[in-house]
Amino acid sequence: MLQSFLEVLLLPVVQSMIWILVVAVSVILSVAFAVYWERKLIGWMQLRKGPNRVGSIFGFWPGVFQAFADVLKLLIKEVIVPARANKVLFGIAPIIALVPALATWAVVPLSPDLVISDIDAGLLYVLALTSMGVYGVIIAGWAANSKYAFLGAMRSAAQIVAYEIAMGFALVGVLMAAGSLNLGEIVRAQQGGALAWNWFWLLPLTIVYIISGVAETNRAPFDVAEGESEIVAGFHVEYSGIAFALFFLAEYANMLLISALTAVFFFGGWLSPFDGYLSPDNILAKPGFPWLGLKISLFMFLYFWLRATFPRYRYDQIMRLGWKVLIPVTLVWIAVEGVMAWFGVGPWRA
């Protein structure tokens, strides 16, 4: 009895737990370095040095442990709950914001044979979970009992709901091209070098996806939900200490996730760009995690670059871009894709 209990119940649970822990810890560590990298990059772009005080590795990368120092500082700071705030919801909002950002990693194929859960409806799972992220923002904004926070939450929710549609439609094009909802299959369908990846034939959808990805994560130039100049810090204005750190973590985990998904959907995931151009024995032509990591880093760089370059969008322009530009573009390109598939142009399955 005990034996079967251990085998049937405990083993799968413990196994899943370990995987979840591995992925969560790697994502959190990546976030720590992404923050350092962002501050450094934006520093260079603005002719500053960026963080250069906390630690270095053999004299290189001054300030590399800045993010860890910041986390430590936030950990020991007091968490202030505003008077007349809804304490329960105020407490769980950061958790609700973080969970979908971590849980979605379960279906992201990291290398040809490494994916935590290889489910058939992976793309739907991604859409379903990313659509949950908005709850953390809304609940935080409402529970804080502050006008600034509530305004930020409203802005963010309207923005996320609007751009989710464009994002979903862009992914319809991807699943038409791959003929599958499984993320691993989507990557495998793009085999054959950089020009066989989806971005080439789905260029408008790729651009729409990247733009809506930036908008979905509430990053500059779409960060009206935080808009310091108008609403102080938006939905997390009342949060302090570790509760704020969780929101911060959720934002960066979401950026990493969107970067990974862009790579998987449009840029061949773990496939090598030289596949088919070099001989298969060449190490540069082999698929694997390093390619995915490189692509994720590139898209993260794009995020930081955008932030250092563009001023914040005006709110009505954000709405106009989402509803009147991006959604029609995706609809037209899905129709174009249908015609191309009908006439056998491009790498479409019959």
Binding site: P12, L124, A157
Partner: protein, 200 residues
């Protein structure tokens, strides 16, 4: 057995959440409990291997419909005391609805088509079976007309909703983006060149 434990755990959460929807005083809590109820029912659907329906339930109801619900509920700022006032007055309506639902459920379970002894537990689907694939095949072949009709109906509903709510008010300040983009420097900036003057 693992699945059974999961099923009972999810069912307990689902029933508790559904009860909380109608018993909590705070409408925001009600809406959030409804979200939880949708989410757990999606989890239960996953247990019977209908992943497409489960994920679409989360995507549509949790991700879109309930967000808008929550929007409205938060904006309305319903008075909690006022909401309590109508409880006894409308209680009979609630009981009546509950009675009808119970009768319907009894009817379903008593019928020999859907009853408890109508059929064995459905066998688990073989490996490689894709619920999404099967649904797509059926929808676009056997039921294509019904599917298209539903799509047209939704489109009509969207157009009608926009037509009903769009009002043109006089004196509204509207920005024409095309005009804003088309503005040239000469339209806005005038450089005035003048000689330096002696201070008088």
């Amino acid at each position: 057995m693992f699945v059974m434990i999961l099923f009972y755990a999810f069912s307990a959460v689902l029933i508790a959440a559904a009860l909380a929807v109608i018993t909590t005083r705070n409408p925001v809590y009600s809406a959030l409990c409804l979200v939880l109820a949708f989410f757990t029912s999606a989890a239960i659907w996953l247990l019977i291997e209908v992943e497409f329906l489960a994920l679409v339930l989360v995507l549509v109801y949790v991700g879109a419909v309930m967000v808008l619900f929550l929007f409205v509920v938060m904006m309305l700022d319903v008075e909690v005391e006022q909401a309590r006032g109508g409880f006894t007055r409308y209680a009979w309506l609630g009981w009546l609805t509950a009675l009808v639902v119970i009768l319907e459920l009894v009817g379903v379970y008593a019928s020999h088509r859907f009853g408890a002894d109508a059929g064995a537990v459905p066998a688990p689907t073989p490996e490689g079976y894709s619920n999404t694939h099967e649904l797509g095949t059926l929808l676009y072949t056997d039921y294509v007309y019904a599917f298209e009709l539903a799509a047209v109906l939704l489109l009509v509903a969207i157009v009608a909703a926009i037509a009903l709510t769009m009002r043109k008010r006089a004196g509204l300040k509207v920005q024409d983006i095309a005009k804003q983009v088309a503005v040239r420097r000469e339209d806005r900036v005038r450089l005035v060149k003048m000689d330096a003057e002696k201070r008088g």
